[in-house]
């Protein structure tokens, strides 16, 4: 093809053709903005109770209705996005940080260390994710911070595996061999040559994992192990509303949709990234 195409241009060209991913990207940006500017965007104080407004269906002043205590659901969803995004992002970030490090070390040094790390991740794999989270929360007690810890622990092994896989491949690559032959140190090879090469896989998984983490955190809240009231966490809102299905459906529907769309768009965004970063697609 013509010269002067930067990797980013190729990426962008492929990415923008996935219109679902573009829509997702826009949504995520809006969501982040809403979270950051929640006090400006939210029509009401998310903590303001007014028992006389208990469980009002959607109306002009409360577009998503009110909850049990007469709090504005839309405002709570907007404030809740702060928590869901923060939990999703932080837990995946921590998981990725540890996972990438372990995967890199494991793939690069091999041998005993590799065996140790991989067996450990096998073990973590062997405990079904949410059970692991429940166990961890059972040990640490409920609460958002512990949810983050739990969710990061079980997103970690996948990161480790992804990175280990591409590290193993890159370790054998000619350019790493070339770097070795000119005398590059192990550290240099690991961080300058191998690590950047593993990142595209990490980024893709990272985006998708945020969705999964948001759901897991919500599920933990649903099981009563997550965020504590009156925190406007989406999963907790759902858990709170489930006793009213059939009576006040808006209490279930709106937080449910918030989770669904957020996770959906993170997934679509991740799909788009994958397609765009995959050299096989055009």
């Amino acid at each position: 093809m013509t010269e002067k195409i930067t990797p980013f241009a190729i990426f962008w060209h492929k990415f923008k053709r996935r219109y679902t991913a573009m829509v997702a990207g826009v949504f995520i940006v809006l969501l982040v903005l809403a979270a950051v500017f929640a006090p400006v965007v939210a029509p009401h104080d998310p903590f303001l109770t007014d028992y006389s407004l208990s469980m009002m269906p959607p109306s002009l002043s409360h577009p998503a209705g009110t909850d049990l205590y007469g709090r504005d659901i839309l405002s709570r969803i907007i404030y809740g996005s702060r928590i869901s995004l923060a939990v999703g992002f932080t837990s995946v970030f921590v998981g990725a940080l540890v996972g990438v490090t372990l995967g890199l070390v494991s793939g690069f040094f091999g041998g005993f260390l590799d065996g140790l790390i991989m067996r450990t991740s096998d073990v973590l794999f062997a405990f079904p994710g949410i059970l692991l989270a429940i166990a961890i929360v059972a040990i640490l007690g409920p609460g958002l911070v512990n949810v983050v810890v739990a969710v990061s622990v079980f997103s970690m092994p996948t990161f480790a595996r992804i990175v280990r896989g591409s590290t193993l491949a890159l370790k054998e690559s000619l350019y790493v061999r070339a770097a070795k032959s000119v005398g590059a140190s192990k550290r240099r090879i690991m961080f300058v040559h191998i690590l950047p090469g593993t990142l595209s896989g990490v980024i893709i998984y990272f985006t998708m994992r945020i969705g999964t983490s948001i759901i897991t955190a919500a599920s933990l809240s649903f099981l009563g192990l997550g965020a504590q009231p009156p925190t406007p966490e989406w999963g907790a809102m759902l858990a709170e509303s489930r006793d009213y299905i059939g009576v006040a459906d808006h209490m279930t529907i709106f937080p449910g949709i918030a989770i669904f769309l957020t996770v959906l768009f993170f997934n679509l965004f991740g799909d788009g990234l994958r397609a765009a970063l995959d050299p096989k697609t055009k």
């Binding site: 679902t20 067996r119 450990t120 096998d122 073990v123 794999f125 062997a126 405990f127 079904p128 994710g129 949410i130 059970l131 692991l132 429940i134 166990a135 059972a138 040990i139 007690g141 969705g211 999964t212 759901i215 919500a218 599920s219 649903f222 099981l223 999963g235 759902l238 489930r242 299905i245 059939g246 279930t252 449910g256 989770i259 669904f260 769309l261 996770v263 959906l264 997934n267 679509l268 799909d271 096989k280």
Partner: protein, 330 residues
Amino acid sequence: MSGGYSPFPSAGPRRVSSKKAEFMLKYFFKRCMAILPVLFVVSVLAFAFVHLLPGDPARMMAGDDADEATIEMLRTELGLDRPLPVQYLTYMGKLVRGDLGISLRTNLTVFDELKLRYLPTMYLAFAGMAWSVVIGIFFGAVAAIYSGKWQDYTAMMVSVSGISVPQFWLGLLAIQLFSVHLGWLPVAGYTGKFSELILPSFTLGATVAAIMARFTLSAFLDVLGEEYISTARAKGVTETLVMWKHAFRNALIPVITMVGLQFGFLLGGSVVVETVFAWPGLGRYMIEAVAVRDYPVLQALLLLYSFHFVFINLVVDMVYALINPEIRYE
């Protein structure tokens, strides 16, 4: 027997298959050896679990209104006063004899309790797996075959939605729709009827179906780029055969490993689904056990879950070796 389809059932000498059998046996042992350390670590973790939880296990086991003497007695009885490695060995020794302890809540042996709840969870998990494999592979294949067309987008949207719905929400909505409004299916619980299995297993399988669909899609696309697909077309093989004989089979190979890995996810999901659907299985049992701090039960459940995961993956590995002739056997 090898997995390849042959137009001549009797064709070819059997020598290969006996060699293969021998290889499979060896391979099996090798895999078994490899999972031993995993099981070991898992058992240590499950053992450590009780000791990691805040509070004195004996005090918790003794219950609300026990006095110090009872607790002290229990402590000796449980061997909690001995060094940890000794405790672990005792624990393992009992484990090997199938003694998982006694449920603090019901005073029944944990073994008996698990026995009761085991099958319902397995039904649920396997039915969920069936849903996800069928739906996932179908959508994935459609998306790959019609790559870039509306079918592709639709299939992928549907399956990505599957990942994005929280299972508990999906379950609640499904009950409202299918059981309350339409009245087609039982609401909840399990007493052995097939109809009771449909909604929970679908809810459970939906997420994994989405994952499978994605994975099938990418495996399929990889395969479609392979030269042997061109070869098949160059022979003049019909497009249908190219897709379903040449491409599909090859795409399925990586998908099979995925099935094993997703099984763990499925078991995890069963915790939520069983709660929503009042399913008398291990998942709900776990939640109940957490709520009342029934330690022997939790310990046993952790072991059982991970053992299953490891075992299923062993089976998957074997299947994989069976159907993939490229696994070397000489």
